[in-house]
Amino acid sequence: MTAPAAPESIPPEARPRLPRGVRLTHSEAQGGWVLLAPERMFRADAIAVAVLERCTGEATFEAIVDDLAATYAAPRERIAADVGTLLRSLADKRLLEL
């Protein structure tokens, strides 16, 4: 893949998961949820946590969007777009496998 002009959309059947070497952890001392990665750390807010907890490698992108839309009673298209953007950005940083 070479420098796409627009971010690629996530296929509905993709099963996103955190790769080995990336984990989500809660740290009281650091004030919340943190995504730990090779020599990097990212703070994860409540929404990111809700998404990442569903990235088990079993649930499909489609199922994750359905689940989030039902849980948060939000419009499905909006959720699909937002979650897609988040997952694509994480995948580009090699923090997620699709």
Partner: protein, 375 residues
């Protein structure tokens, strides 16, 4: 929800005011397990006087330190050295870090680390491996490392890392002899299966200072390197993460060294002394506490060395009144000392430093004489 939902902790904490806030918990711990190393790299940033094997902390003490680190809020431990694999108990120390709940990162030269030991480390819960490379081709890489056959052993180890399913970072240490090879080095990292490459310009501390005239890149090389990194990031977007910063002596503002003194990280030497940064022992008059006598929590909060440059009260002008004082914290104390003779001075990398012009003179002092290898 956008990608901004996940902001780096580094950026995040850098914005937080350093004074008037309660002491923040450290995030990372650099565990220098040993100073022993088979390589002779001229750019080694370890101190000129190394600690000997007889003074090294034992396995149980490291296990205790790692537990204390986790309790203090540390999330990542970097197992480093020297070459950490020079210690036979590396798997036991890794297991102790993992048991404490820490994210464990191995920083290795790849020389002296066998496939069997690597398997034991993966089994013990190792999370990530960083292997350094000196150049893209064996002959020149081995010449820089001062060790024949180093390149072949590094690439073999990298292959083992991938075979075991561990994530791999290639640390490409850049200086005048290889800075024009960035593209080939990134290609090598990709071929080895790395998910991340660190373009790490030599920093002139410890042993490296002896070789500054041999290692310093030219301004033209630095500009070409910056353009090369931009192009490579575009070309390999989504395939490999390329982390790179402008080399110190050519920057306009100093780096926020270790994220600010005593704010984010600690460094434990092979013998157990706890330093706010890697080179802190070069600063005269500092008192470093040891894990042999104090808990890590006591050291973090009360060690005179950690409190010496915390916050902004210690600063002089131009730092004291500078709007960036809580962004870069005046830069690096060790570099300020090395280049101005005063550890409280503004890091001369900053263009506002009265000593900044001296840097231009230093970068011009380039010699093509042989390296002084670390032996």
């Amino acid at each position: 929800m956008t990608s901004e939902d996940t902001a780096t902790v580094m950026a995040d904490t850098a914005r937080a005011p350093a004074r008037a806030t309660p002491l923040h918990a450290p995030i990372g711990l650099l565990a220098e397990l040993t100073h022993r190393c088979p390589l002779g790299c001229p750019y080694c940033s370890n101190p000129v006087a190394l600690e000997g094997r007889a003074d090294e902390l034992d396995t149980n003490t490291w296990a205790r330190v790692l537990q204390e680190a986790a309790a203090l809020g540390v999330l990542q431990v970097h197992l480093s050295g020297g070459e950490p694999a020079a210690r036979r108990d590396l798997p036991a120390i890794t297991a102790a870090a993992h048991a404490a709940g820490l994210y464990t990162n191995l920083i290795t030269s790849g020389v002296g680390l066998t496939a069997t030991t690597l398997e034991a480390l993966a089994e013990a819960g190792l999370d990530h491996v960083q292997v350094s490379i000196q150049d893209f081709a064996p002959q020149s890489a081995d010449h820089i490392a001062g060790y024949k056959g180093a390149f072949a052993r590094k690439t073999a180890l990298a292959a083992d890392v991938i075979r075991l399913g561990l994530p791999l970072t290639i640390n490409a240490v850049m200086h005048r002899a290889n800075i024009d090879h960035i593209e080939a080095m990134v290609d090598l990292a990709l071929a080895l299966g790395a998910s991340r490459v660190e373009i790490a310009h030599v920093q002139y501390y410890g042993w490296a200072l002896k070789n500054r005239a041999q290692l310093m890149p030219t301004r033209e090389q630095v500009s070409r390197a910056a353009a090369a990194v931009d192009a490579l990031r575009q070309r390999h977007h989504g395939r490999i993460v390329i982390d790179a910063v402008i080399p110190d002596y050519y920057a306009r503002y100093p780096k926020a060294c270790v994220g600010g003194w005593g704010r984010r990280s600690l460094n434990v030497t092979p013998s157990g002394r706890v330093l706010p940064c890697h080179a802190a022992e070069t600063i005269p008059g500092m008192t470093f506490w040891s894990v042999r006598e104090h808990s890590l929590a006591e050291i973090w909060a009360h060690s005179p060395a950690f409190n010496a440059f915390r916050g902004t009260d210690w600063m002089q002008e131009p730092c004291r009144s500078c709007p960036r004082r809580e962004q870069d914290f005046g830069g690096c104390r060790c570099q300020a000392l090395a280049l101005t003779g005063d550890a409280r001075a503004t890091d001369p990398v900053c263009h506002l430093s009265p000593h900044h012009a001296r840097l231009a003179e230093l970068v011009a002092e380039q010699e093509n004489t042989p390296y002084s290898y670390r032996r």
